[in-house]
Symmetry: D2
Subunit: 335 residues, 4 copies
Amino acid sequence: MGKRHAENLRRLVPQAVLVAIADASQERARQVATELEIESYYGSLEAMLENKRIDAVLIATPDKFHAQGIQVAAQSGKDILCEKPLALNLADAHKALRAVSKAGTRLQIGFMRRYDPAYAAAMKRIEAGEIGTPVIFKSVGRDKDQPPLSAYQSMLNGMVFYNNTIHDFDLARWLMRDEVTSVHAFTTTAIRPEVAEYGDVVASVVNLKYERGAIGNVESYVQAVYGYDVRTEVVGSNGSIFVGSLEKIPAVFLTAGGSQCALADHFLTRFADAYLEEVRDFVNNILDGRAPRVSGEDGLKALAIAVAAEESHRELKPVEVTEEPANPASKTTAR
Amino acid sequence: MGKRHAENLRRLVPQAVLVAIADASQERARQVATELEIESYYGSLEAMLENKRIDAVLIATPDKFHAQGIQVAAQSGKDILCEKPLALNLADAHKALRAVSKAGTRLQIGFMRRYDPAYAAAMKRIEAGEIGTPVIFKSVGRDKDQPPLSAYQSMLNGMVFYNNTIHDFDLARWLMRDEVTSVHAFTTTAIRPEVAEYGDVVASVVNLKYERGAIGNVESYVQAVYGYDVRTEVVGSNGSIFVGSLEKIPAVFLTAGGSQCALADHFLTRFADAYLEEVRDFVNNILDGRAPRVSGEDGLKALAIAVAAEESHRELKPVEVTEEPANPASKTTAR
Amino acid sequence: MGKRHAENLRRLVPQAVLVAIADASQERARQVATELEIESYYGSLEAMLENKRIDAVLIATPDKFHAQGIQVAAQSGKDILCEKPLALNLADAHKALRAVSKAGTRLQIGFMRRYDPAYAAAMKRIEAGEIGTPVIFKSVGRDKDQPPLSAYQSMLNGMVFYNNTIHDFDLARWLMRDEVTSVHAFTTTAIRPEVAEYGDVVASVVNLKYERGAIGNVESYVQAVYGYDVRTEVVGSNGSIFVGSLEKIPAVFLTAGGSQCALADHFLTRFADAYLEEVRDFVNNILDGRAPRVSGEDGLKALAIAVAAEESHRELKPVEVTEEPANPASKTTAR
Amino acid sequence: MGKRHAENLRRLVPQAVLVAIADASQERARQVATELEIESYYGSLEAMLENKRIDAVLIATPDKFHAQGIQVAAQSGKDILCEKPLALNLADAHKALRAVSKAGTRLQIGFMRRYDPAYAAAMKRIEAGEIGTPVIFKSVGRDKDQPPLSAYQSMLNGMVFYNNTIHDFDLARWLMRDEVTSVHAFTTTAIRPEVAEYGDVVASVVNLKYERGAIGNVESYVQAVYGYDVRTEVVGSNGSIFVGSLEKIPAVFLTAGGSQCALADHFLTRFADAYLEEVRDFVNNILDGRAPRVSGEDGLKALAIAVAAEESHRELKPVEVTEEPANPASKTTAR
């Protein structure tokens, strides 16, 4: 992911100069720097932040280092574009936001789907009132290839709610222009029980309840062998908007066995434009002194939904969404 | 609905003779009998059951009379095809089933979607193992035109769970070849609050948990102004099957405003073939002395899911699915 | 085809009484009469026409008997619905039309696609001016299963232009509301050369030129193994209308190999509604004393296009469309 | 177009160095050079060719300057990627090819659709024999916005056959792996008669006949107000492959008026990937000393089809395809 961002910045966002790249493996940083003709490379974020030419940083580390990275970068006075999620728990999220606030720098969270042309067009029509009052939010996120078990062992990223579903949780807020107040999750590890040991799941359905009365459901599935499949629908009192397409290329093959299409297989293909637009928008806003379009607050609120979904999954009950870091007590009855 | 069944039987199922028709309004019964050239008509089911020429009856009354109708018809020794739902509560359902069992007659419940060519083809592929182990069940049922308030006042039919969603609850069992063990429902009346007075909802999302570990979600919406929209997906370990199409006619209109298609608007259009196949299959099985394909037990099990969904909606918690009639105690923690 | 019409008339057009059925094989006529509970059956059209109870006849014989059948039926004073084509040559067509005209009876030609809901909706929008001035007419007609060689040997039906493509030639006039003035055909027998012996082709592309300047192309193919595939497009100055769908059932199968749909396989499936509406409309117009909606003149004009297409195929040059029966001279340069 | 190629080369093809840019307007060349940080700029191709650092040139001038540009560049010993068409007549085409041949340089013609992922996938399956023997080739090319009359007046580019349809003529050869031997064209200017003065047309249908017996049809339309619409189908003895999609973004809007999608509007959007892949492939082949994938011969053969189509349009008869420059005699009867 970091490499893709670097390529976009280096080649397609001429208004920014990609000064340096850092990676826990300094050798890998060096290779990418060479390939992309970037002047400096470093073995750590901290080392890179010493570089006086840097005004802003893009953080695309494993999830568990996001919050700490934001803190360090903010303390160095940099503006920040950080991949989702903001953090893996609410306490860390608050720490990161406080650091940004104290430093007076700017933070954008990488909810790149907001920049996808299809989602953006959908939002425009929702804002124009074309579907009336939103009533139901639906989203499906399916990855093609299940993560290897080693990924669960290292746990550099959070469980599916924090890493994948959080995109849908952000869309759930953004497209509905409303806040989720409680959630209920059913999950399964039936076809891969070993995942349960690491506290993760293979598939989940999360019911949502909104402040203004609307409802929703988000499904996630990490091993849809047939393709990378993202679909979202906002159903309103006057119509509905459906975003999603499985087609990889616009070609249909007709044989005696039926019609057949090739399907999308990876998020970097489906959302290539979105990633580029995201970085462009961040750079433009920073250069023009404007606030980023997807704020740290947005990162916090999506995280709060993920945290509640995980609790519902663990506790087998509906859970209220709160931005307060967990304390062992209450919070058990959601309405 | 009764008229459609009568037309199908009279015109397209020559192996059955449609002897008589009954309606609470004897005048309406007379009109339909005249139009369809049916020899006898009656003002009540009871009166019609005196007719010695009748071997089997098809019940398509308002929902609240289903269970009682089944009892009476069974006591007269008739085989029965009854529209869904079997009953509006589990106690009535058991009474109806006991009457059928005691009389030794046969009962089929009108889950006509099982006869739809698309659902039937999906089931065939699932049974052939083409998608591997089912992991997630998803279904959407949206009606085009909201019921008038008078429909809620008379309450001849049950709330949306019993009347619409029950089709999806049946598919949830049939296509997954597994039983639903617990449910969680979020519902909304936000865009039509007056419906809440009658205990009904405008939209709902119901999470499902299955015996063998799979999960699911069923959405219902009673006023999707854009069309009649039914979609179902079974996601498995090796692939997924999606049933559903909005297109009313295969014509696309391309103008500077974009492409445009006419959408389906009514279940009698979408499922015309299914209703006919259902009646044909019932008649053939009865004539050949075979058990009906969709049993009273199927009616009971789908009803049990609806009852649990209603309780979850009322009690704001997950509810275990049980075929036992409600008793005021326990049953509050679902897993 | 005759059987399908008989079923429709007997079961779904109650305003008509299907009095009798005739077939060159009296035994087959008897069987169908028994199965459909029709009172009389005959071994020839002539014998049937003696029956005084008959007001109108539907002719669905092999193509080569159409014109003669129309003459005989007209001479008996019957109204007639005759399958397409009107005749296999213009001389016979004129004889048939003269007989109808002399007898003062009414004749409808079986261009059933005009009754298909999708084509009918397209026509309505064209008439409403929604696509502006029609500029290009395109049509594709592909049959799934190639005819057996015996069909060519018996030659009961004409070559593909008269039997299949004639539907497109009728649409070419009807949807464009203009007349075709000249045609150019390229044809092929490359993948089945034995067909050439019988003067027929496996595939053809026919360019069309219209009176008011528009242009068009019609493609036919008799062995599209993948399905029965009919598509038509009318391209106008303000938009375009596309009719056609390959999907047999609204179900999509998603596997690692891609998405897959079952395709339509037969015209009786694709156009089931159209055949029924056609017969209904004919019966209603006859009963109400109105002229049929698809006239003998329409039959003649579509035939004239087919005749010109065949000549273009034989003579390897563009050919002007004329309703005059062929005479050995001229007619060679089309503009 | 030249600018797009420059952007692709500068930003996304790091293995090439974009040394200089030339434009008839030196000021425009300067602007682009500044914007894209290109070291040199020139007011003519000839001036630019003096630059010793240049190994290869990409020509994207108006069509009428292509052949002359190729000659000049070849004489300077450069490898060349030239936009289609190779020339506007066969005499110029041969002159350009002779110059390249004499200079021993390499020439690629810009049939970028061969690099489109959908067309490339289609070709792969055709080559794998998945559709059996190709029988029919169909292609549709529709532009959204009609050219202004000034474009016809300046006539920097050829008529539609040379500028748009030539893409389809190239696909007609490439995908069918066969040569077109004769063509027949019907054209229209009915909705914009003033175009006829300049020898151009608004729409055309061109029938094709192939060496091995297959047939085809290519339609072009320059003012399809609804969108940029390119579709191609290769129909074979065992199946068919259809390439084409109108959808601009994967979003469907469902309202009481029906479903609605935004349509593609420009070839630079639809074929963005193809243009990039084309340039990449050219650069890689040149660097590795391989022959270009789309040769000057390919340019000549597609041009020959366009020339024949224009003659058929003018002479109102089928025309044989020949690579020989026109001589006033013969060539009138195509088979």
